[in-house]
Subunit: 428 residues, 2 copies
């Protein structure tokens, strides 16, 4: 009996090879014209821990951004959203330890003051500086640490793999590993030759910060010369297909922020929408975002497994997404995976409960590449073989609803004792 | 500062006192003309455990039912749904140990054969017997145990509190306690006097059954003489406001079944929709369902707390329900409660993430009756007082969105290590 999907779906790699997109070193500093720093500003009462990150272009450049859609929206998001909408920026400053959320008008003023400190150091307009924060909410963010920390960060700015890594570390909270990615590809240069373009970045996100809520902060950069609308379109589409498809615990933060700085230092022909170069750029930024998204899911709070859920055969993209999220957010599915239990019944129940229409006798399910349900009826399985397959770091679930042609993929992780420990620790 | 809601909302009690509805003894046998039994049929490999329940009216009577909306729908549900739609029935037979789900056409045949065994014992038409099952899915249900078990159950049928209790025990799976409720009130009798009417029942449900999925099975009975349409309307409305507002882990089973038998033995004037007697009946059945629903939530798998979430000030009932479920299903909220953490930030984030429109600076939140957020900004709280309040068995969350007048209430429980143990145990 054939599996619904091969364990490794080849289509993503096909896209990369089509455009000659290859992984490279450097993270957020892979792109020329981009510098980064991550320093200790003692913002969280631990002078040995990096807690302030700065990413800066050498000059004012193109920028794009996507932000949380939570109705509770933190002060830095309010500030950065407006500034990113101009399509121009110079730098992004990020802190961990305090989310500057539910802090009202004073919180917005502090966020602007932090940006002002950075602008003074870089010699740019304060409106060209974006801000992002992650940490406790409802506690005023003190400016004190930034007064000394921002100049330290500005002095530390460097175009190096290490500097990129320091910045990625400075935004970590319950993350157990820094998360970086970078890819390179070639596009036509302005002089008729070929230019090498880099896209890279880092992200933080694994769940939430004691004692508050989940946050994803992501800074991406590229040296591609690209029109602001094209940059925004590629970023929005990539975020939608990657970060917005990750669900560790179905909770969306007040502070989620993903920004892109495009320095233009690759000296390629300006990339506009509707060109081959745009398609290559969009594929590269998606590759970076997908690698970072998978790293978020794999580093989900308490996770022991990365879980990829593919829904095929849905009537619409929306139906496919609804079913995929219903499975990925099911505590019963997530605990079964933690327990190495090939429990297709929970997958079926999660698919059936979410209001999407299908015939139970038209449904196929694979777990870990093994057919376990065909046309709504169970397929005998080799339990020992399944247990061996569960030893790997990734669990794939595929379900074909047998209705149409739409497909969706989401990433999540298992639900473990450690998740309860991280999020249920007594506050006092 | 005033709390949004008093800790005990008086409106429910007001309704009960309006109609003189009072708790009484007897569970599903509170109603005259109803007998019950719960026996060991060795359906789950444990000859000491009750696993077969039977509830029977003395004669064919009015019935009503509500069933799972999961697209994966078990064989007994397929059979019972059709039979309940006739508005007439004699008995309900229930088993634990095997859900007879994902078993195809043979499963439907077994469900009908079980009903036939009961019909033979009771001397009624097999179409008058409803069936319900809970347990593992995808495993054929063997008729063997029923061949001896059904006659044993029929012989054990009795109109007694103990018999009702035995039946409630026979459907338990991961339930830690049997769950029963019964209320009585008075309505006009056919002879111009007053008749006492009873409504009672039992339910099972706490999450899922190792190694499969969540199921709620409920049998209700009354001696009220009531028209079938009125019985169905009252049951549907009550289920919608109670059982459908319980969310232990957001998972809906393939087997959920709730049926009502109305014997008419109270000899009251026939209750039709649109009468005062109907309103009293509807209030009583809702009281039974609400008590059972709260018992399900409190006995959620691994639960240490019953959690009641009230959303006020929403624009529509649907918005209120969406926000209430978003809060009740949030793993971050549920683990915070387990950790006795008065974490209003997670409540706010859960409210804000679900796509319902409101202004964050119009929101009030109470935890355990204490104001913690007003107009989107935190209210200083006494952490010691909060920790003391967390010692109780119930946690109340109230949020006022400040938009309109709609209200919704849902019940859930906390998310604990024990939940992971119950659902994540290795299968082999």
């Amino acid at each position: 009996m054939d599996a619904i999907l091969p364990l490794e779906v080849p289509s993503d790699e096909d896209v990369l090879s089509t455009y000659g997109i290859e992984a490279c070193e450097g993270g957020v500093c892979a792109a020329e014209g981009i510098k980064a720093a991550g320093v200790c500003a003692n913002l969280r009462g631990d002078p040995t821990r990096r807690d302030l990150a700065l990413v800066s272009a050498d000059d004012t450049c193109v920028c794009a951004g996507v932000f949380t859609q939570n109705r509770f929206c933190a002060a830095p998001v309010q500030v950065s959203k407006e500034r990113a909408a101009t399509g121009r920026a110079r730098a992004v400053v990020l802190n961990s330890g305090n989310a500057n959320a539910s802090t009202g008008a004073p919180g917005v003023e502090v966020a602007k003051q932090v940006a002002r400190l950075v602008a003074t150091e870089l010699g740019c307009a304060e409106e060209e500086v974006l801000v992002a924060s992650t940490g406790v909410i409802g506690v005023p963010l003190a400016l004190d640490g930034f007064v000394a920390g921002v100049p330290t960060a500005a002095r530390a700015l460097a175009h190096s793999t290490k500097a990129a890594h320091d910045a990625a570390r400075a935004v970590m909270t319950t993350d157990t590993v820094p998360k970086e990615s970078s890819f390179a590809f070639q596009v036509p240069a302005g002089d008729g030759g070929v230019a090498t373009v880099h896209v890279g970045g880092f992200v933080k996100g694994s769940g939430m910060i004691q004692p508050n809520m989940a946050t994803m902060l992501c800074v991406l950069s590229t040296d591609c010369a690209i029109a602001p609308e094209a940059a925004q379109a590629a970023l929005s589409e990539a975020a939608n297909q990657t970060f917005n498809k990750v669900t560790v615990d179905s909770d969306t933060s007040t502070n989620d922020t993903c920004v892109l700085l495009a320095s233009g230092a690759a000296n390629n022909e300006l990339v506009e929408k509707g060109t081959d170069a745009y398609l290559a750029f969009a594929a590269a930024i998606r590759a970076v975002c997908e690698e970072l998204a998978r790293k978020i899911a794999a580093d989900g709070e308490g996770a022991t497994k990365l879980v990829t859920v593919d829904v095929l055969g849905a009537a619409t993209d929306k139906d496919a997404d609804t079913v995929a999220r219903s499975i990925a957010n099911s505590p019963l599915v997530k605990t079964a995976i933690f327990g190495h239990d090939a429990n297709w019944g929970r997958v079926a129940a999660a698919a059936g409960k979410c209001g999407v229409d299908f015939d139970q006798y038209g449904v196929d399910i694979d777990l870990l590449g093994v057919p376990v349900l065909r046309k709504g009826l169970p397929v005998p399985m080799d339990e020992d073989d399944m247990l061996r397959r569960f030893e790997g770091p990734e669990v794939r679930i595929a379900i074909d609803l047998g209705v149409g042609d739409a497909h969706a993929r989401v990433w999540t992780c298992d639900l473990t004792y450690e998740y309860v420990t991280i999020n249920g620790d007594y506050r006092t």
